[in-house]
Each structure stands twice: as C-alpha cells, then as structure tokens.
Symmetry: C2
C-alpha cells in the first residue's frame, strides 16, 4: 500500500525551504524550567549510551519480517511488536484480534496532563533478495557517500527505523529515570502494506478508541529529512484508491477465453482494445483531467486558510530543483510553478500506475490477448471518499459500455485533514525549529496514508507524520535508515530519537 512515508519526500517537498538554517543540534535555548531542562539533558545522554542497544533492537526486528501479502510471521510479528512495546514501557501492550491480522495496543500512563497517540506498523513490503546488494534481512551497516553509516534492510526506513527511534527515546527516559512529560497510546497494525483492511477494527475496539479519544493527536514516526535536512509538516493528505481494471474475453462475453493468434483480430473482438477504449473515457482529451461522471461533485475547494498557507510555502519551493529531481521539463498545461503547486494540492487525479496485457517481453509475439489490465490509482481530496468514488467509477464504466470490466480495488484511504492551529501541529513545528530546522507547513500531502482512521469520525483527531532522521528505498531494494550521519544537514538514529524527546516536552 502507498504511504506518504514510503515516498522519497522530495516528491512532495519539491526542494522546499530554501531558507532552512543549518542544523544546530547542540544546547538549545530551552523554554523548559531548569529542572525539566536537566531531565531532558539526562534523557538525551541516555540516548547516546543506549545507541548500541537500539541498533540491536532494529537489526533484530529487521531479521523478523511480517509480510501480510505472504502471510508471513503472523501472529508472531504482532507478538514481537507487543514485546517491543512492553520493553519500552507500555506494560499492558497486547494483541488486538481482527478478522485479518492482529493489531497491538498499549498505553503508557504516567499521570501527565497530555496524551499522545503513536501509530506503528509492524509489517513490511515484500522483497526479492536477488535485487539487493546485501541480504534484506541482515541489516548490514554500510557506509554511504554523502550520507553516513546506514543500516540496509527491508523495513529499515519503512517503518522500523523511525519506530525504533521513538522507542529508543522511551528507553532513554527509563534509563535516565525521568518521567515522561506525556502519556502515550500505542496502536499498531500488521497490514499497512496491503492497505490497512483491518485497521479500523483495531482503532474502534472500545478500549482502543477510548484511549485514543484522550489524545491531542496521533503521529506515525517518520524519518522526515531529505539529504538537505528539510522537513515538511502536512495538514492532511489526499486519499487514494488503488484498483485494477481488467478486461477479459470471458467476462466480456466477446473476444477469446485464452490468447489466440493475432491474425484472428479480423474475426474476434479484442479485450485489449476494449480496455484502451474504457481507459480513454476516464480522462478528458487534455490527458489528465478526470472525466468520470460526478468525480468532482464532492470536491471542496481549498479554503482561505489553506490558500494562505500555500501562498506562504510556495515562495520557499524551488522549481528548478524540483524539475531536476523529477526529470520534468514542463508542468501540466504548461502552467507556472505557482499554479502547478496549487493544482498538486487541490486536484483529484486518475493515474495509470501500470499497463500489462498479452505479450510483454522483448520484441513482439503475434497473439491477440484474452486479457489486459490497467493498474490505476486515484487521489482524492476532501470531501471525496474512497467508497463513493469507487461507485462512481463503476457507474461511469457501465454507462459507457464497459460494465463488464472488473474493477478490483486493492486498497484505499479517505483523505485526511488536520488543523494548522492544533496542538499537535504547533508542537511539531516548534520541535523542528528548536532543532534548527525551519519546517515547511504544507496544506495537504499529495500522497496518502491511513491517517483518516484517526482524523475522521468518531475520533476526529489531528494526525500526521513526525520525526527527524533520514532513510530511503521504501518498497525498493537496498532500503536503508541512517544510523551515523556524516552529512551536516541530517541527523542519525540518535538525533531521530532526540527529536521525539523534544516533541514530548513540547507537547507537555
């Protein structure tokens, strides 16, 4: 499943924050009282002394992957997650059964005034060891030019590295014998990579819901930093539907039931042409504007507040850097940079992720394929929903003579929104600034994550991604998470853990 945190964040940040100051990780001008400041320093010191243990925790966890698509390591992966949570202080951490894979739930109530929700995923994406330069479950430490020492392994950055950084912060509080400034609720799932089909069941379990209800918001730990150190705070994210559109001779009742010789194109209808014609109805002649009937009916235009945030942010975004990073020379409709960014934030999309049908090898093969598939994703903005949009796509296809096409939704999330004036967002912004990073406040992530489970009723909580640190290669070979940074712009594993310490104090 697609997640914001599985994405090279350049994709979203677009070379943002030209005004970012250099990082200054040393002694902060602290707003904490002298006692709290001493506590914090003691905790930070324990992060350093706990470095080896945290690295071992991460390496061991990488060695034990839960992969929902392969039904690998369930419920053992959940039990492992629960044990990691208990070790970090969630004494009551336990499995939450669902109709799919179990979740994990635990609370850490220190009697503080403020509660914070932590959303973890314990599953990882599939991998093919043949594509990796070191075994994907080994967690090998590798020196990476211009970055530092990274740990290479499946799940390193998506999401075990950042999650271990968060847990390492909690271990540091325990080791320093310092009371946490906030109470925590941990909710974890093991099906994020297949689209979180059971996550709502976990969150709506009465005691989980009740615990989350007390929280000021929920964050997923994320290594937010690009190699330039930049960080983005998103006030929500687009929703997404991923689906396969399948044209087949059998379902259609025309064309062949298996691949036949291509000379028969003179006599037999072609499911591949049927698919092409169906696809062609989904976007307007401009090649991008969705043409599905009713697609825009629920689109709420961005409001004045979002517009102001956007206008503040846009001047910090570098068009040249972004074009270079993406390999793009023109924006849609040859729009100016400003307008293309407004479009990025505000418009829903229908995208072709992949086309696959018939012969796909080198050269040609004279067949008329019995089946052809388009993999699509559609990005949704408020107040669109995944369910309603799927209905509209199906109705549109039926109306245009393509009702026989299978529409197999493989995953999806509703859009999320989190208020800029929420305590959660204020604390994120302040924590980044105190760590010398000037964050870019951004109205809406163009990518998607399962945050709607928190931001939608009944919880209606602010939710987002938080954390310093750096990783890359989510879903790809040689996924890594930065352990020791040699890049002055970004922090390593300990710096990532420290950002959680500061975040907890900031929230309190």
């Amino acid at each position: 499943m697609e997640r914001s945190n599985s994405i090279d964040r350049r994709t979203f940040v677009h070379g943002a924050a030209a005004g970012v100051a250099g990082l200054a990780l040393g002694g902060l001008p602290s707003p904490l009282g002298a006692h709290a400041a001493a506590d914090r320093d003691a905790v930070i010191a324990k992060i350093a002394s706990g470095h080896a243990a945290a690295l071992t925790m991460l390496r061991d966890w990488i060695a034990f992957p839960s992969i929902a698509a392969e039904n690998r390591n369930y419920p053992q992966g959940a039990e492992y997650m629960a044990r990691l949570a208990r070790d970090a202080g969630f004494a009551n951490a336990r499995l939450v059964p669902t109709s799919g894979k179990p979740g994990v739930f635990g609370t850490l109530d220190v009697g503080a005034r403020t509660w914070l929700g932590l959303y973890f995923m314990y599953d990882v994406k599939q991998f093919d060891p043949a594509e990796w330069s070191s075994p994907p479950l080994e967690g090998r430490l590798v020196k990476k030019e211009g970055v530092g020492t990274v740990i290479v392994g499946r799940g390193a950055t998506n999401q075990k590295g950042p999650e271990v950084a968060c847990l390492a912060a909690l271990h540091a509080f325990r080791a320093a014998n310092v009371k946490l400034p906030v109470n925590l609720v941990l909710v974890a799932e093991g099906e994020e990579e297949i689209g979180s089909p059971s996550f709502r069941q976990i969150v709506l379990t009465p005691e989980v819901q009740a615990a989350l209800h007390r929280c000021v918001g929920v964050v997923i730990p994320l290594g937010n930093q690009g190699l330039d150190g930049r960080v983005q705070v998103n006030l929500g994210a687009k929703g997404v539907i991923e689906l396969e559109l399948v044209a087949s001779g059998e379902k259609w009742g025309r064309g062949p039931a298996r691949d036949v010789h291509s000379s028969l194109a003179a006599q037999v209808d072609s499911p591949a042409w049927h698919l092409v014609q169906a696809l062609n109805t989904l976007v307007k002649p401009d090649g991008h504007t969705p043409a599905v009937e009713g697609f825009f009916d629920d689109v709420r235009p961005i409001g004045d507040a979002q517009r102001r945030i956007l206008e503040d942010a846009i001047p910090r975004m570098s068009e040249a850097e972004t074009k270079k990073a993406l390999g793009v020379t023109r924006w849609i409709a040859d729009e100016a940079w400003h307008d293309s960014l407004v479009r990025l934030v505000s418009q829903p999309t229908i995208n072709i992720e992949g086309l696959v049908g018939g012969y796909t090898g080198p050269g040609g093969k004279t067949i008329l394929p019995h089946r052809a598939v388009a993999k699509l994703d559609m990005r949704l903005v408020p107040d669109m929903t995944a369910a309603k949009t799927l209905e509209r796509v199906k109705a549109h296809l039926a109306k245009h003579g393509f009702g026989d096409l299978e529409v197999n939704m493989t995953g999806g999330y509703d859009p999320t929104e989190t208020p800029a004036d929420s305590k959660l967002v204020h604390a994120m912004m302040a924590t980044y600034r105190k760590n010398g990073v000037d964050p870019l406040l951004w109205p809406r992530l163009a990518g998607s994550w399962p945050g709607a489970t928190f931001t939608a009723p009944p919880l209606n909580l602010p939710a987002g991604q938080f954390g310093l640190g750096h990783g890359a290669g989510a879903h790809a070979p040689d996924e890594y998470w930065l352990v020791e940074s040699t890049n002055p712009n970004v922090v390593g594993m300990d710096g990532a853990a420290k950002s959680f310490v500061d975040f907890f104090y900031e929230l309190a």
Copy 2:
C-alpha cells in the same frame, strides 16, 4: 517473427474439412507409368530404411541452434545448413553473404523438365530451458498420448523437422538410385525469426534469382496436419507489420524522465495516458476497424475467383469446433460464421499484442511511469505494403498530436498471392488427395510469412507451405515434431518424407 508455420494451424483452418476422408497411406492408385511406380516404391522403401539416419540428422541439427537475436552460431549454422544440403545432393550448396547473416544456396539439376524451389530457414526461436520439460537442445524422444512418439526440441517443428523430412526424401532417392523427377533450387536463410531482414538480398543475388526464375514455384516444408489430419492449401497470405509504439516522457518533452510518485499526476503529464489516447485513435469506436487515415486506400476487394473458393470452403468449416478451440462465443459485430470468415480473409487489422508500462507485478505500486509501450501487429491484404502502411501510421499519429511516439517496426512482410490454377497449387492438392487427405483450398492465410520475396516482382512465383506430418509448440516450450504416429489421422516423420516424394512426382 511471425510465420504461418509457427502457428497452431487450427487457428487458420478453423476445424476445416468436415468431409476429410480417413488417411489411407497404403498403395495408391498411381497415375505413374509402371517404371515410375516401381521407382517410387523403391524410394519409399528407402525412407523406411533411412529412418534412423534421418532422426539422427534431425537430433544433431536441433543440438546446434542458430539464433539471430542472440547472434548464436553464425556463420556456423549456415555452414551446417550447406553441409546438410550437400549431403542431400545439392553438390554446389554454398553460403550467400549478406549485410546480415549468410544465406545458403544450392541447386540439384538432374536434367528434369521441371524446377521446384525449396525455401528453408536454418535459424530457430530463442528458448528458456527452465520452461522446458526436457532440455531444448537434447531432442528427447517422448511418447505423447493420442499423438505418438515425438521429438522434443527447439526447432523440432519450426522448421527443422519438416525440412529434414524433405531432405530425407532426397536421401531416399539417392539410396534407391532413382533419378529425381524434378530439379531443385534450395535457398535458405538464418534470420527468419527476426523478420528476414536480409532475405531479399539472398534471393536477388543474380545466380540465386536466375535459378529461382526457372522454378514453377517455391515451397517451405511444413507439417501441415492437425491432429485430425486436416490440411489447408493457402493461395497467399496476409502481410504483417509488427511494431512497438512507445510513449516516453523524454521523447514527448512532457511527463517525467523516470518513474515518479503517482501523486504527481496532479502536476505532471503522463506518458501512459498519452499512449492510451494515441492507441484510441487507431481503431474506430467499434473496437476493431482500423481508423488510420488511408489504411484502406490500397485494399483490393477479394475477386470473384477468390470469392468462389471461399464459398466452396466455408461449408466445410465447423463454427462450433472453431469456437470451442478458440474459446470464443461471438464473432466481431455478432456476424454469422460465413460473414466472419469473409472478414477474416479480406480485412486488414490492427491488433494489440501486448501492453507494458510502469508497474506490472501483483497488486499496485504508486508510480507515474515515464514510459509505456504497446506492441502492435497490423495484417495487410493486397495491395497494401508494409512500407506504405508504416508511413501512414506515422503520418496519422503526427496528425493527431502523437508525433512524439516512437514507432519501432520490429518486422514485417508484404502480403502474398499465389494463383489457384498454378502448377504448384495443383500438385499440392493432388498429392494430398493421393495421400487420402481432402485438402481445404483457402483464398488467403490470415497469418503471414516471408513468401512475398518470391511472389512479388521480380520473381512473381507461386509460393506456399507444403507437407504432411505434424508438430506443435513453435516459439513455445516443449516444441515437438511427430516421429512415429499412433494417431490414425496423421503421419509421422517417414510419412512426411513420403509426401515430398509424391509431390516431386506430381510436379513432374
């Protein structure tokens, strides 16, 4: 490259010839004089005694594949072919250099009145041993239920088995010390599987052209029989263009130069949508009629003679069997069987062989691909030509705003036509009938082969496929050629050789 002989012939025959008599391979009522009949019987006897040698010839040849796409065994494969030809009596067989792979040319002049051309290919299709149930170069003998003992190997039926049957017939004449009733010209190429790019150079080499010019026609040896024993004689074949249509961000100057995150569909143009929109212009809304400007300009309607042949043949074709074999329930436009066969013979097509772009694995992946490819083939009828049609496709795309798409032609042939009243066709029909098979005369193969090199100027020769025998799996794993038949409908290797003996006598 596509060839008629690489195709399960059911594809074309459509369960033809409901009236086919059982095979009666025994003593023919011979029109030959007593002397000739005795000669013939002596030759046939030598086919049986030469069986083991012929099988060894085939197995050794299978073990030595020439594959043009891999530049494997050149010029050694040509030298091997030349040696096989010399061994069979083409004493002067030699290599014909080209700008690509060498051809082979030889003559066997016994002073007969009639000359016949033989077209051989010595190359084979690529293979992946992992997909085979026995090593593709071993030539293992395997018992196949309902068929008999077959030899399994790359090239077994496409085209070494049938070619060895023809060579075995020549060896039998020598062994029986019987004079051939015809003179022969052998012309072979080693690039058939990549679309015969140099074959015209071979044929137009002055001495080759002069020798072919004397011939009454040219045949490629082919195991024509389906498992029901049926045989089809084609009075020509459609031409073909195979091409890849490639949409890429770089060539377009829009969209990304590499795959980017799919959320960017709101900001960046999509080469995949561009491809879909281009494809959509190539056929009419009916989903099959070519819509390329000028596509039909050179189409010559089938004439009265062809129409009569078609009307004679259609009643022998079984719609029910064909539908079952193809897994088809309806013909294009819900046409009746008769009309769909007329369409099959008379209409040019544009077919999608394959679609491939972006993410093609299981589930989805949230990318906006920088490149997408459609593999197309177009079947051409007289008087269309591959070159002119390609021009029209390019002009059409440019006119409709898709001039940036790469149009990479990977192979093609012009259509061929051979007169029904030619000596070659008469001899084929008579030979089949004398072997107890009632052949189906068919106006035009819907598939394609490089016969236009013979049928077009300057040679203007009749040309077609000839031979009894059975094989399957051309271009596929476990390709085989029938050695010893246990199926009363079809003949084995010796029967295939015998059909050439009878064909030579029939032509003389």
